[in-house]
């Protein structure tokens, strides 16, 4: 039971933190249409996060989505390190989104068949959104990779920044083995090969080479984060911390 809670929290935290990051673009996008697009993704992700949090709240009992999201500390958050990385430029943001959406798509494909009806239902609903995020971000990777010399260079920088945070997606956390065993969760190591192949296809079109032998960071899923998360949570949780026990 605890494993399932942690697993659900991990799914929730990752989508929430990525949503929070993407939402920083709202009002600051490179062109109005894309401002709207990235905000849409942010909205989809917070919607998914809420579904997972509400389910986690039910599993935990006597709590709610806001208490879980706003009153846990850095070490309790289980999001992927990738999600908390700074937005950087537009290239870095859409690459982060692409890496994640590609992974999330494969994940949800299997989670739809979870023995846990609730998780399966959330995944089945969310995968439609994810497939859109995937197409949108994949197209952007190609556009920028292939666009101008500057954009190509910027994409190489983005790959440099982010590649080292992709490995963690495929390393099961302690709470994942039990849920995989009961067929409620997805075995992430099995997603690695298909993910890599898809990324290679997109990168090829984008004229970017897939890096090799890069050191992979991990720990986010177990609550060991980069320094960025603390600042994200400081903003995210400010109101609930400053005015405890209030309705909003």
């Amino acid at each position: 039971m605890n494993a399932k809670i942690d697993y659900t929290l991990h799914l929730a935290d990752t989508t929430l933190i990525l949503s929070q990051r993407n939402s920083e673009w709202c009002g600051h996008g490179p062109i109005l249409e894309q401002d709207i697009a990235i905000t849409n993704i942010s909205l989809d992700l917070i919607g998914q996060a809420r579904n997972f949090y509400q389910y986690a709240a039910k599993l935990i009992g006597n709590t709610d989505e806001d208490k879980i999201a706003y009153l846990r500390t850095e070490r309790e958050f289980k999001n992927l390190l990738l999600a908390e990385q700074p937005n950087g430029d537009w290239g870095q943001t859409i690459l982060r989104q692409y890496f994640f959406s590609q992974y999330q798509y494969l994940l949800y494909q299997q989670l739809q068949n979870s023995k846990d009806e609730q998780l399966a239902a959330i995944a089945a609903k969310a995968i439609k959104e994810t497939s859109y995020h995937l197409r949108w971000s994949g197209e952007w990777v190609i556009r920028l990779g292939e666009g101008t010399d500057e954009s190509h260079q910027r994409m190489l920088n983005a790959v440099n920044e982010l590649w080292g945070y992709t490995g963690e997606m495929f390393i099961p956390a302690t709470y994942e083995s039990p849920v995989v065993k009961e067929n409620t969760g997805v075995s992430v190591d099995s997603l690695k090969q298909p993910w890599l192949e898809k990324v290679k296809t997109i990168f090829e079109e984008a004229t970017i080479t897939v890096p090799e032998k890069v050191f992979m960071h991990s720990g986010g899923k177990e609550g060991k984060h980069t320094e960025h998360l603390g600042f994200i949570l400081t903003e995210l949780q400010y109101m609930q911390r400053a005015y405890p026990n209030s309705e909003w």
Binding site: I31, E33, I36, A37, N40, Y132, R135, W136, E139, R143
Partner: protein, 120 residues
């Protein structure tokens, strides 16, 4: 600053009638304008809803989805670059449409049918 705009929304507005010096030039970063048509429900026609800027067609369709169907207004989207739309001239509206005014037989209400014949 004397380059007049050539392409307007639906075709050209002649300078002498356009009401003066409108300076415009599409620069290399300015993504082209696309017109968006949405089928709001299966069985209905696509209807013009507005326009947006996009670098290419896939982007235009995705943006159209984000911008014009945020409240689930559509099931199908068409986009076309605005410059490919040819439009009739409003001053020729008379020639184009007025002949049709006489052709009342083209309108279903021209035919008087007995009341028993419903739904035709």
């Amino acid at each position: 600053m004397s380059n007049y705009i050539k392409k307007f929304y639906y075709g050209d507005i002649p300078e002498e009638k356009g009401g003066g010096n409108i300076v415009s030039a599409q620069t290399k970063n300015d993504w082209p304008l696309w017109e968006v048509f949405i089928r709001s429900k299966q069985g209905l026609d696509h209807k013009h809803v507005g326009s947006l800027h996009a670098a290419d067609a896939p982007m235009a369709i995705e943006n159209a989805r984000d911008v014009y169907t945020r409240r689930m207004e559509g099931v199908s989207i068409w986009v076309v670059e605005s410059k490919y739309i040819s439009a009739s001239n409003p001053e020729e509206a008379g020639e184009l449409y007025e002949p049709a005014v006489d052709k009342i037989y083209r309108h279903p209400t021209f035919y008087n049918l007995p009341d028993e014949v419903n739904h035709m």
